[in-house]
Subunit: 364 residues, 2 copies
């Protein structure tokens, strides 16, 4: 247990947020900075919210190094809606959309894209049980005559993560970064589009961020429904209709917290240290085993098993009793999963490692 | 000024919420009911959230009298996304969708529906500047061979509201109730579908509620994107993907507050009294004038002018200085608008009336 009776929350998302952010939300809840009403009651057409939105976007651009020819959109519907919205806007007739299938979320994106146009799966990770991402040079059917190349940068369920990004000349690279955005430095100009549900590293559920190279919005057919066109939200600065005011406000506070921690490179260093120490513990004995190819392991979602499967339920339950919650693996893969998003402190990982060692000693 | 330095917030949405609700959100923010984490960090796949979602739905069903053959869906994207999603799901080939155009939000819905299929506008309020809704018997081109009949039950911008609901045999009546849901009793079984953005009477922005007669979900074509199909969200009880957890939680608290006030009929009585006293003040002298046909006046958004237009800006400014904020009319119609959603107490309306009288005496 930590301050204020709080536990270490290893859930895969919605996930842990910095305590300082929650305390600020709490302080300001009834009367936002003395304006006389709550952030929950704030009009999205007023100066106060304009300021919150502008500052959130500016800090996000600063932290991620997003250039001026990219738009930042604050939308709703989660990454799942982007699985459709993205091909609706970016598919070019006659040019296939290339997809790498690295697990559940990529598979879902492929399913939606196939409803809308011509899709080519250039990497099928299913053959290896999604344990690896493989070399881009070995992907099959890659063509420069493509609408875009789609990847899911981190695979929450299988615990893999891209540690390279494919480059394909002028074909825009598109990434679902829901579960590792703002956890490490990425070179935004290498991408045509990046999208992410906020509920892991950015804020609460109910907000989806899209980073889009502006010229790509021009691809959308005129007949697309207004709300499903990126250009609509670009033209109205994410206020075509009422945006998720509160979630944007919390994201703004989370970004300030990232800055206070030293920015993205400092956050990345801590994330590297957290993942390295946990994988080191997993690899130290045969009691625990990682589930993925070491080269492709995720620094956000560390998946592992116990050599005697019947101990896994006990592990999850006893850990929870000690204030380490959310460690159950996804039902489709079993085992354990420790999600180490930005707001999980090194101390939380140390507490988990200590628990693992004690648990092993008891059950070896 | 009221308790906790709060003002009376007459904004059209996002809008005022009950102070008790905000205080409970504040109390529970850092550690939800002692579970060790915040509602903002809560997994949507856990028992705690299951309980919140189930209770919110049950209370909503109880308050509105929603029968078992209707589904309640908790979605994202606002009413604006429903303008597309609804025709995508409910249009039947060969049968036109009938729309009544009573102002901006209905007009936007018509624009989206026209992108998707055959639309017949059976009432065009534009001719009278959207000052009235008119008699259903005088609407033109109404046919029983229709996919559905669409209305916007309350028109936030023009200040009109339906005080009858059209009936057309087996043609499903569909209503955008964003700005008057839960403000008065409606007979849900008379409707095929009702939808509403939460940010007026239900909770914060970022949540859209859909009440749908279950059989109608079967109309959707199989090729519709998964996230845009009502049947997807029905099958997964609004948890196909991560729902807006926090907004659902706040809506649950708002519903409990409505119950504590005596339920929907008690709320409706207060709403009637609020609107009646304000319209009475408007009509009492020629200094102020309502903008709509008295028979079609909204009890949620009271729109009015001052006989000398140059005083209107002064009115809005001086009112704000006295803690009565958000009274500026929509830019497309000018004048003043007082939004009297459920959370606006009678005392707030009395304060506004007192201000109006004092303002008139000064500027008569």
């Amino acid at each position: 247990m930590q301050e204020a009776g709080r536990v270490y929350n290893f859930n895969p998302g919605p996930a842990a947020l910095p305590l300082e952010v929650l305390q600020e939300v709490q302080r300001e809840m009834v009367n936002y900075k003395g304006c006389g009403y709550s952030i929950l009651e704030m009009s999205h057409r007023g100066g106060l919210f304009d300021g919150i939105l502008a500052k959130t976007e500016a800090t996000f651009r600063e932290l991620m190094g997003i250039p001026a020819d990219y738009e930042v959109l604050f939308l709703q519907g989660g990454a799942s809606l982007q699985f459709s919205m993205l091909p609706m806007n970016l598919m070019v007739p006659g040019k296939p959309a290339l997809y790498a299938d690295t697990g559940t979320w990529a598979s879902k994106a492929i399913k939606e894209a196939k409803l809308l146009g011509n899709v080519k799966v250039v990497f099928d990770g299913k053959k290896q049980g999604y344990r690896q991402i493989g070399d881009f040079s070995e992907w099959e059917g890659v063509t420069r005559e493509a609408s875009y190349l789609y990847i899911c940068s981190n695979n929450t369920i299988y615990g893999t993560q891209y540690h390279f990004f494919p480059e394909l000349d002028s074909v825009p690279l598109v990434a679902d970064m829901s579960s590792d955005i703002l956890s490490r430095w990425v070179n935004v100009p290498k991408f045509g589009a990046i999208f992410a549900g906020a509920q892991k590293n950015l804020g609460p559920a109910g907000l989806t961020v899209v980073i889009l190279r502006k010229d790509l919005a021009g691809r959308a057919p005129a007949t697309l429904p207004t709300m499903l066109k990126y250009s609509t939200h670009m033209a109205d600065k994410s206020c075509y209709n009422t945006p998720p005011v509160f979630a944007i406000y919390v994201m703004g506070l989370v970004l300030e917290w990232v800055k206070s921690q030293g920015g993205l490179s400092a956050i990345e260093q801590v994330n590297n240290a957290k993942a390295a120490s946990l994988y080191e513990r997993i690899d130290a004995t045969d009691f625990y085993a990682g589930t993925c190819e070491p080269a492709d392991r995720s620094k956000m979602n560390v998946t592992f098993r116990i050599h005697r499967e019947e101990l896994e339920e006990k592990f999850v339950k006893e850990a929870a009793a000690q204030g380490l919650v959310g460690l159950k693996g996804h039902r489709s893969v079993g085992g354990m999963r420790a999600s180490l998003y930005n707001a999980m402190p090194l101390a939380g990982v140390s507490a988990l490692i200590d628990f693992m060692t004690a648990f092993e000693e008891k059950h070896r």
